[in-house]
Amino acid sequence: MKRKVTAILLVLCMASSVVLGGCSNDKNEGGSATDNELSKNPVEGGSIVVGISQDVDGLDPHMAESAGTREVLFNIYEGLVKPDSDGVLQDAVASDHGVSEDAKVYTFTLREGVKFHDGNEVTAEDVKYSIERCADTSNGEPLVSAYSIIESVNVLDENTVEIRLSEPDTEFLFNMTTAIIPKDSARTIDANPIGTGPFAYSSRNEGDSITLKKNEEYWGEKAHLDEVVFKVVADADMLVSYLKGGSLDMVMRLTNAQAAELTEGFRIEEGTMNLVQALYLNNAVEPLNNEKVRRALCYAINPDEIMDMMNDGKGVRIGTHMLPGYKAYYNGELTNYYGQDYEKAKELLKEAGYEDGFDLEITVSAADQPHVDTAQVIREQLKNIGVNVTINPVEWEYWLEEVYGNRNFESTVVGVDAKTLSARSLLERFKSDGGSNFINFSDEEYDEVLSQAIASMDGEGQTKCYMKLQEILTEKAASVYIQDLASLVALRDDFDGYEFYPLYVQDMAKIYRVE
């Protein structure tokens, strides 16, 4: 509700993006501080203050809701496997892992000498406890929805754990990034977080800041910094003055205009936000239920013009509900499937019986300036085909309940992210009866191909299905796909080592101080 609370920064994290885990398994083309050689000579130790737009909603890794929370907790907790900056799953708490022939049994051997922050060794029991906690279906949905197919978690010996699935799933490894926490720590974990990550929890002042300190006995490459303070800056407009003023050292997801202000004393890293921004159309509502009308909108709206206006052209254009970062799955030709062509759009509208246009309401979360501005540019563009748009800015809570929950909207501009690295988590959403299919898209062919993809054993076939699904979304114009927004990170120049992840995380262990 408060414009400030979900300001620009939020455009990427949970509040404005529909949270469904997923991460690309390849570095996004946006490019970042490419090869990560240590520019100046690093100085160990020191402290950094990172600006975040909204306080974490809790410190319990399994209950973490917003992407903003997971972004911070990535530094405290680790799963059996852990994505690296290239998006490739590396072994973490587990030293290695094996998958059975029928992709139904996954076995993990624990790494020697991995300790929790409270000094205790990580045991197989802890792993079993953590996995089962997320798979528990006692009060409806399990904490991690993908775990619904787990049959059992068995401790083979004190450092090997075996997970049996009720049905084959070649991509199940992606879900093994769930945090490992000490046995029976469910009730205390939120107030007293214990994990195995490079940083340990130090203190918290609700709504204002969270402080993490270096984990001296980290099993892997230790962090350089002694302390990291995540400071809540609700008002995006204050970021630049706080950075310049010196009270903040690093801020993520700046707009181009903001970054332009930080001329000297700062290093600007460029990447993308891993969000599918689109004009999502409610397929159940007149006249959007008519495919021709939806296609007409696709012809009228020009993503390139939006990107120019918003971020001086920065950002990556997309043509379907898939992130370019997912190189293996991204269906490149769909990007320019709809070139801007007002005549064709008008023709389609005529065919659909809406020759002199119609009224369209775009509901948008008032706090996300980029989405509000995108809506305004769309309004100017749609004027050319007689569609007059009214923009209805609402509070985030209201958007969550009315648009996403009750699906009572005509169209909305928002960014949808993916929770896990698997393409399925992005595309599964649009199953006709999908719980989170908030645009009411329904197409038998789409459902058919989706179930094929899930069942198929070989990666090759699976990828072909995912490609087909993307085609259907684009051809049927389920929504008007626009871009994966540019994300700029400002880092004070006495720090270095920032690395973009294809996932919604900030790896503070890589950051180091330089003279």
């Binding site: 408060k2 414009r3 609370v5 204050m238 206006m309 509000v372 923009i391």
Partner: protein, 270 residues
């Protein structure tokens, strides 16, 4: 208390107010550019003859946005003192003149309302009714009733025992006529000046609300929002903050001086 410094207030105040209101009225009819039209090429341009107040981070013409923004501030502030004023006068007159339980009760409610920071009251009402110009006006109007009621009540209590009021009662003048024909004209000067002060507080409160993102919602322009957005560009585009701020101050200053001038010119009730 005619001090030389004061007599200018009226003329100065009237001058500034008329100038600002004229500009705003112009804004209602015509603005050099479409307030929301964005020009990618003209981002953060300094003030020039083309763009008197320069352009903001989206290349929008600040002069047009200030006019439209000030327009909504003016409308909201005027609406607020209308609602607050009318209700306040009626309530204050009745309580001040009759006193007793009614007065005690109403004053308690007024204290309760006054204990609410007007920002909060506006917040609550806007959340219920949804944001937008007219809802902010109603919210602030209600928030301002207590202050007007209290001022009018004080004046009525003071004049309740005045000789000419007792004289009127003896003649047999009916009470409503005593209240609004006999007593009211005598408190007009102080009422007008408190309306001027009320206008100022309302304008500032509206700016505060839209600064917090509660008042006027995008894409409508509002001075408070423009000020808040300008903070990012203080270094490279200070005019984004300067012009909306100065415009708001001038509007409030003009009305303030006018209120002060009225008090001097027509002799305050005090």
């Amino acid at each position: 208390m005619k001090y030389k410094g004061h007599s200018h207030n009226f003329t100065l105040g009237l001058g500034i107010t008329v100038f600002m209101v004229a500009l705003i009225l112009l804004g209602f009819l015509w603005t050099p550019y479409e307030p929301d039209a964005m020009q990618g090429s003209l981002k953060l341009n300094a003030p020039s003859i083309l763009h008197l107040f320069g352009t903001d981070q989206f290349g929008r013409d600040i002069f047009s946005r200030v006019l439209v923004g000030a327009g909504s501030t003016l409308v909201i502030a005027a609406g607020t003192i209308l609602i607050g004023g009318l209700a306040g006068v009626a309530l204050g007159a009745v309580c001040g003149y009759f006193g007793g339980w009614l007065d005690e009760g109403v004053m308690r409610v007024c204290d309760a309302l006054a204990a609410f920071p007007s920002v909060l009251l506006a917040l609550v009402i806007i959340s219920i009714a949804g944001s937008g110009k007219y809802k902010v006006m109603v919210a602030l109007g209600i928030a301002f009733i207590p202050s007007f009621a209290r001022i009018v009540r004080g004046e009525f209590m003071r004049l309740r025992e005045a000789d000419f009021v007792i004289g009127a009662r003896l003649i047999g003048v009916p009470t409503p006529r005593i209240l609004f024909v006999h007593i009211l004209p005598n408190i007009l000067p102080s009422l007008l000046s408190s309306l001027a002060i009320g206008f100022n507080n309302a304008a500032l409160a509206e700016a505060g609300l839209s600064y917090l993102g509660i008042g006027v919602q995008p894409p409508d322009a509002s001075l408070g929002r423009m000020l808040s957005e300008s903070q990012t560009y203080l270094a490279s585009g200070v005019w984004c903050a300067a012009f909306p701020g100065v415009f708001l101050v001038l509007l409030v200053l003009g009305v303030g001086l006018l209120g002060e001038g009225i008090l001097d010119r027509f002799g305050g009730g005090r």
